[in-house]
Symmetry: C2
Subunit: 244 residues, 2 copies
């Protein structure tokens, strides 16, 4: 089986996704927030691309939480921003969360155009994702959202962490072949940041921007490696936990 990493989702081709398991990473902060909302028992997360779509969804349905960001900040009229710290079980349990972010929700929808299955990745569930990857029979593509159309350190390191976790648990099983040098590079980077990815988040340009905006606590939260086993799946427009 082959594993590959796409550094920036915008450049992905249908061929790179075709029939594969895709894992999407936008660890600062969309996918971390989604994993947190799902871990905290929300009914489903609906990732949408525009603010208008989100508002229209809420108009037609009761019990909806509107979340997301533009320029990293709360969208006027929305209940929650894009900080995972806001998505507590008190707030989200049993509810539908509609979320729109600058980058991450696009990446998820883009990955769904071709992939056989799309799961949501982050540092929080890296080990859980690796287990899910190991269960699949298909090739795997780790899709990083990136920052403003360029490779982002945090997503690349998170993809690398999944590769490291895979290497840990896959001993004796069939090895994954790296589909590109970025897989090797991401593993080395993950090895550098090892058990604590917080310094990677602090080193990253987007992490520095978030810290300057007052979201330093978010970086700490987003760096919590293997704090949950949940591996949310995006299917038919909704992100849920699939039960076997």
């Amino acid at each position: 089986m082959k594993i590959d990493i796409i550094p920036v989702f915008g450049n992905i081709t249908r061929e790179q996704l075709n029939g594969k398991l895709a894992v999407v990473f936008d660890v600062l902060r969309a996918t971390t927030t989604i994993v947190t909302a799902v871990a905290n028992g929300c009914k489903e997360v609906i990732p949408v691309v525009t603010v208008e779509e989100a508002l229209a969804y809420a108009e037609n349905q009761a019990n909806v939480i509107l979340g997301g960001e533009r320029e990293s900040l709360l969208i006027p009229g929305f209940h929650l921003g894009n900080s995972p710290l806001e998505y507590t079980s008190e707030r989200v349990k049993g509810r539908t969360v509609v979320i729109t972010t600058t980058n991450g929700t696009h990446a998820i929808r883009r990955a769904a155009q071709g992939a056989a299955k799309v799961i949501i990745g982050s540092f929080l569930n890296a080990g859980g994702v690796a287990k899910e990857v190991l269960r699949t029979e298909s090739d795997v593509v780790l899709v990083c959202a990136g920052t403003r159309g360029k490779l982002s350190l945090e997503d690349t390191v998170a993809a690398g962490m999944v590769c490291r976790e895979l290497a840990k648990i896959a001993r004796g099983k069939e090895a994954f072949l790296p589909g590109s040098d970025l897989v090797v590079a991401a593993c080395r980077l993950a090895g550098f940041y090892k058990e604590d990815p917080l310094p990677a988040l602090k080193d990253s340009l987007h992490g520095q921007k978030l810290a300057a905006l007052g979201f330093a606590e978010d970086l700490a939260f987003c760096s919590r490696l293997n704090s949950t086993e949940v591996t949310p799946v995006f299917r038919d427009g909704r992100i849920i936990v699939e039960t076997e």
Copy 2:
């Protein structure tokens, strides 16, 4: 001053180059070969894109060495392949070398479309390149050739080595601001491979392909960090050493 790294030359925009110092890396093997030919006293290297251009050049001029590769192998009718080991001073001293490779010569010509100055980088002259970078007043862009349109480990690590060398010699001087997360990632990767980049070349997909083709010795040669101070400049179609 800003420093940035472009992972794959094909995606570079004129704006990313405009007025900057560009350093081009295709360490396996075009830029290593060019640095070696220049260090061994050739009169000039003419990088051309097609085999036909190379042949036409040789027809009109005496004393020309034709070098390069297609699919990593010697081009029929050419004198030399793309191994730096072939470009000894006995072979190239005082002569014009016309070279065409699949990737590297394109990258050099592409970088010249906008950059104020283009220099040729490799592991061999990483320290010399860093000194040249430090002398410049402009922003700097490290242009990696990449492998088949994707980030390559060897070029990224070489760019990172230049950043490390810069950090070593620039102490107390104005720091370079990273223009993207890839700069941070490349520095971390260069830190991983430290004084000996040979494992990076062995880890890379293109390095493995070259080794399988019988060019394992080339990997060792291409990994010789700081073995020359020469920093060849590409100007008006020719690569030369500029004297002050």
